[in-house]
């Protein structure tokens, strides 16, 4: 369990994190999302005591990080894969950390095995690839067999096989009842890994909800209806206060309805004796839902490339 209470961090005039309150529950993978500069890393750094909050506090397992006698046994964190002296071997790096927290030395071999670095454990970390460094960072996080795990961009630099391995690892850690908070910019990856989402922008919470709810909340999650009487159906839908779209590359007789279940639309059509030829749900991707949520809080935005790239779901008709 991670609890943030009115957490605030300011650098001069600029608030990196402002008044952030949330709880990360055990037993699931919580995705921590937000644009660059949203305050994700700062929040994670405050959770492990590297940065001091300007005000508020963040607790792990009900206690401040600095109060833990064996912090690595309570909280494992991968914040920065390259947080190891390049001249030291992975084995010595882990051994030192194990000694610092009274973790048996035998555990070093176990975590090296888990992350697949056993064969290169004696090599200097400076010679590692980005992906190997990432695996070492994960080994450090797992070393103390902690209840709470924080991963900042864990799949950075990993090959597709490694990405899948991380996803399975996160799922299994959460399955064991641990608290897992993962930040990532890879939305498709996050969509497959996370159960719950915590989205922040400009240091504030934009969403704190289960994955399904976040996706359902997107305007791109919508029902598609095909009917020979589109005008009649549209009138009835609008009367119910629903958002209806008839343009945007739709065929004649096609409607897109936002904010209603298929059942509601079907029942409504039946009541008004409007024939329906097709009724289907179009689910937004997490990426689309995320883009909508964060549209106003992107600090370092990129100019739009072309209208074609903006709406990947609607195929323009020629």
């Amino acid at each position: 369990m991670i609890t943030s209470e009115r957490l605030t961090k300011r650098y001069g005039d600029k608030a990196a994190v402002s008044d952030l309150s949330f709880t990360v529950a055990p037993g699931k993978v919580t995705g921590f999302l937000g644009p660059n500069g949203a305050g994700k890393s700062t929040t994670m750094r405050m959770a492990v005591g590297l940065d001091t909050p300007t005000s508020g506090r963040v607790l792990v397992g009900g206690r401040r990080y600095g109060e833990l006698r064996h912090p690595l046994r309570s909280v494992g964190a991968l914040l920065d894969a390259r947080a190891c002296h390049p001249g030291r071997s992975a084995h010595r790096h882990l051994l030192g950390l194990a000694r610092s927290n009274g973790i048996p030395a035998s555990r070093v071999g176990e975590v090296l095995e888990t992350v697949g670095l056993t064969e290169v454990a004696g090599k200097r970390v400076g010679s590692y690839s980005l992906g190997m460094g990432q695996r070492l960072g994960i080994a450090v996080a797992l070393l103390g067999d902690p209840e709470v795990l924080l991963f900042d961009e864990p799949v950075n630099g990993l090959d597709p096989d490694g990405v899948r391995w991380v996803r399975e690892l996160m799922r299994s850690l959460a399955g064991e009842g641990r608290t897992v908070l993962v930040s990532s910019h890879l939305m498709s990856e996050m969509q497959e890994t996370a159960d719950h989402l915590l989205v922040i922008g400009r240091g504030r919470i934009l969403a704190d909800a289960p994955m399904d709810e976040v996706i359902a909340g997107s305007s791109l999650t919508a029902a598609r209806v095909r009917t020979p009487e589109p005008e009649a159906l549209e009138r009835e839908l609008l009367r119910r206060g629903l958002r209806v779209d008839r343009d945007g590359g739709l065929e004649p007789g096609e409607l897109v309805v936002v904010g209603a279940t298929l059942r509601e639309i079907g029942d409504l059509a039946f009541t008004h004796r409007i024939p329906v030829h097709e009724l289907s749900m179009r689910r937004a991707s997490l990426e689309q839902a995320y883009m909508e949520l964060t549209a106003d809080s992107v600090e370092f935005g990129s100019p739009a490339l072309s209208p074609l790239l903006d709406t990947p779901t609607t195929t323009p008709k020629v």
Binding site: P71, L72, H85, G87, R99, S100, G162, L173
Partner: protein, 266 residues
């Protein structure tokens, strides 16, 4: 590379280990697992012994020209520390600033979040290693220099021991100063430059200016006190005062480094 997803074993045992002892073991493991430590000790040893041999031989040469060079060999040989002290400065500085240049300080502080404890344990480990090295270097330097001085360097066991202890204490103080300034500046280049200024350049410059008070002040520079500790001559003050001078320098540097480390985000 194998990719396994073996389930993690049971949680590790209850609240044993960790704490200050854990932090000491951690620093010990870190110190010896990088090459810089071994290199600096090896170079320090070579420089001390090599320079001791050189000054020993030159003393004999001077004696043959009729210049009185009689001085106990341990004191004569300890001139070598003028140079080899820098390897100690580099060793202790890198033990601290290496954490910042590599980013490992973030891992270190996650393992030992109590910053005062982290800095104390690092300082104790580095200082202990350097103090032992100082004693050993001094004795070896004497043993090499004495035969080359051919009778002009007779010494007693007390002088040998006194110089060895003085070398240990002086280098230990330099290690504490290096760790303290390193924590303050977080950069190896800045720390080493600062210490070279303090140890070598400033005492010279202060004498050159010609101002009386500067000359007096220069007596309290750490390298001047170090010379007293190494040679037990009572100029400009005795061993006790010299010890006090290096202790004060160490405490001031350590205190500054520690205060900044506690306040600053890592």
């Amino acid at each position: 590379m194998t990719k396994t997803t073996t389930p993690l074993p049971r949680p590790t045992g209850p609240g044993r280990g960790g704490g200050f002892r854990g932090a000491l073991a951690f620093e010990w493991t870190k110190l010896w697992s990088v090459r810089a430590t071994w290199w600096n000790l090896a170079v320090g040893l070579l420089l001390t012994v090599g320079f001791a041999a050189m000054v020993g031989a030159s003393a004999d040469a001077s004696a043959k020209k009729g210049i009185d060079v009689t001085m106990p060999a341990p004191h004569h040989a300890s001139q070598a520390f003028l140079i080899s002290q820098l390897t100690v400065v580099v060793l202790a500085t890198l033990a601290l600033t290496g954490e910042y240049s590599s980013g490992s300080v973030r891992t270190t502080l996650q393992a030992v979040p109590a910053r005062g404890r982290m800095l104390r344990s690092k300082t104790i480990v580095v200082t202990a290693v350097v103090a032992v090295a100082g004693c050993v270097f001094s004795v070896l330097g004497t043993l090499v220099a004495a035969p080359l001085m051919s009778g002009h360097g007779d010494y007693t066991g007390g002088e040998l021991l006194g110089t060895a202890l003085g070398a240990g204490v002086y280098l230990a103080a330099l290690a504490v100063m290096s760790v303290g300034i390193g924590s303050l500046l977080r950069s190896a280049a800045g720390t080493i430059t600062t210490l070279i200024m303090v140890l070598l350049a400033l005492p010279q410059l202060m004498g050159v200016v010609g101002a009386r008070w500067l000359e007096t002040a220069s007596d309290y520079m750490p390298s001047v006190a170090g010379t007293v500790l190494l040679t037990q001559d009572h100029d400009p003050y005795g061993g006790g005062a010299a010890l006090a001078v290096v202790v004060v320098w160490s405490l001031v540097c350590y205190g500054a480094g520690s205060a900044v480390l506690r306040r600053r985000d890592a």
